[in-house]
Point group: C2
Chain length 319, copies 2
Amino acid sequence: MRILVTGAAGFLGSHLCDRLLAEGHAVVGMDNFLTGDPQNLAHLAGHPRFSFIRHDVTQFIFVPGKVDAVMHFASPASPNRFSPYGYPNLPIQTLKVGAMGTHNTLGVAKAHGARFLMASTSEVYGDPEVHPQHEGYWGKVNPIGERSVYDEAKRYAEAMTMAYHRYHGVDTHIVRIFNTYGPRMRLDDGRVIPNFIKQALQGKPLTVYGNGNQTRSFCYVDDLIEGIYRLLLSDEHEPVNIGNPDEFTILQLAETVNRILGNEAGIVFQEEARDRDDPQRRCPDITRARERLQWEPRVSLEDGLALTIEDFRKRLQDQ
Amino acid sequence: MRILVTGAAGFLGSHLCDRLLAEGHAVVGMDNFLTGDPQNLAHLAGHPRFSFIRHDVTQFIFVPGKVDAVMHFASPASPNRFSPYGYPNLPIQTLKVGAMGTHNTLGVAKAHGARFLMASTSEVYGDPEVHPQHEGYWGKVNPIGERSVYDEAKRYAEAMTMAYHRYHGVDTHIVRIFNTYGPRMRLDDGRVIPNFIKQALQGKPLTVYGNGNQTRSFCYVDDLIEGIYRLLLSDEHEPVNIGNPDEFTILQLAETVNRILGNEAGIVFQEEARDRDDPQRRCPDITRARERLQWEPRVSLEDGLALTIEDFRKRLQDQ
């Protein structure tokens, strides 16, 4: 297949390009580098089946030649308000890529009779009252909160995607992505795993906000991409959660990072500077992915962190 | 003020134009007549302070001259799947006017330093677990249901509006409109009040689906417009419910219509052809409107229905 990947220079987008190329597909990467990093695609320079178009997908998209699949991964994705790449600092852009970007990429899929896969998020569940979250749960999202620029944009993108499926017959797929980590995460992403690794590599104590008992589930990026690739090839039109259901507390995560790196500086606790709408707990119910895609995660947190740390170490040395 | 009203040829939009003109403002009406009806504006032809631009607001908007306020009322609004004007039959258009239309109208407000008011809806509460619904309730909406083309578009529009307020400092206002009725509702709108009035005027029995015990609150259009006008002039940036909190069962409504019209054909009950996501009950908590706008509805259901029936009778005769 010849596959258009938007957000190709992002953390997930670039891993997706690698996997698609490894499967023998041709890939047209697209990115405007708002939050994507050209460095993530540097290794693909000169690849015979990879091409790239620098473009903002909120503007009309033209791709020369035939497209067999469109995978819409463009969007700011970090909730961190202290990061320049966090969507709180890119609110209008985040809203636009969810609506106009999804509309334009669906337009490409419709025009080419191509498969379409949209990168949605566990954020559509908001601050959930149901644990773990299954795909039938409608979510609890504040439509006017500061996080709504991301959450509502993604919910809208799902509604638009389903509308193109129902009314235009486009072969659409929706993946709801839970917390994912791995090589190429931004060092200054602001999320917990990059923060911990950076601190541990510098021999500093890891900063845990609150008591560290809030849980997260972390999926290693290769596992995620495997699930997404299966979804693309499937006949599944309903949203599918892809994530790792193993829950760890932030404290366990910090201890694991320190153990792998032999960091003896320990942990410091800081008062919780928590957003009002920040969910305390989120964990995927992956029954649907298991049953319909025969997928489940394989990489342990320990192994995944080791691979991620290796990448971070290399990049910090290069800086 | 010189006020841009999108959806000016719609039921609410046209009443809004009348009120603004009566207050001495100049009005620029805008509509693409997708669901709006030119007949609703026919009486304004030649009005010295009314002008009209036929335009689809999902496309870039240019308004010659100064604009002091923008009121974004363009959208399909009927959930009826059997009506050509119902949003189930205009899914992509409904999604687009909520996102691109809101973005473009906010752009006009930002460029002109104008006030902005967005017509949101009680549908943002979805199938609510809280009664009556107050503005702090986050709602229960199925992001991928058939109604999501409207619900999620409006939630997105609220998120976009708040983002323009927070990040661009636009003087925005959001009204969450509950069920409203009155003259100029489409005869073939498909909603319950037009259906009942049409049947009663023809001396037919009124069709009630299910047992008729599901409740609705109905606000007469003049009351609604009064609340919206106050909101436009206020400093209130948070969403405000405007609706009538008096709850009536569908059965009570049918009996009232029959009584006013002296229709002795009675009522027939039909099996409920209810949408899975169709809310059983919706009723506004109007504490915020009372406290911050000193607004409450004044027109009784009996009086409002009489005025509406008068208008329907006239229009049915003209057909």
